[in-house]
Subunit: 99 residues, 2 copies
Amino acid sequence: MIVTCVYVRVKPGLAGEFIEASTENHRNSIAEKGNLRFDFCQQADDRESFLIYEAYESDEAAAAHKSTAHYLKWRDTVKDMMAEPRKGVKYNIIQPEKF
Amino acid sequence: MIVTCVYVRVKPGLAGEFIEASTENHRNSIAEKGNLRFDFCQQADDRESFLIYEAYESDEAAAAHKSTAHYLKWRDTVKDMMAEPRKGVKYNIIQPEKF
């Protein structure tokens, strides 16, 4: 089971638009086969910084996410909202061992 | 609902000991009232770097975690394993709205 933490900082004033697009992406992503978590979080002390915490059963399921229509729509919608390139960090889940 | 991401880097050779202590802490933490997630992750490209992704129903529940016997035991056990001070980043959860 793997996790990708996606860190995003949006341009000033665009947090609301980003939340709207990312909430739609969240709703579709949690319905994907192999998705375990797709939490969408806003940094407490910086409302233009966000974390998407994505957990999937396998590398294959995580890769499949990136070819879904909702991911591609999100990617294109938020592209020009970013204040800097978003950053992804990959993890292996040690615990929980079962979901 | 709030999240704390705790980032830890341990000294070379101590990943195994850290995993053992943190697995015990995970098992006790998920049984706490108000705990929503307590995922323990190892960075894919750096096996001495870890993320603990902790979600709680409220600030009060998150604060209560820090006074539990298992947290205090973990804190003392891992104290000298750290290569650098651990870092915590707080988030508010936008989605999911319900757990």
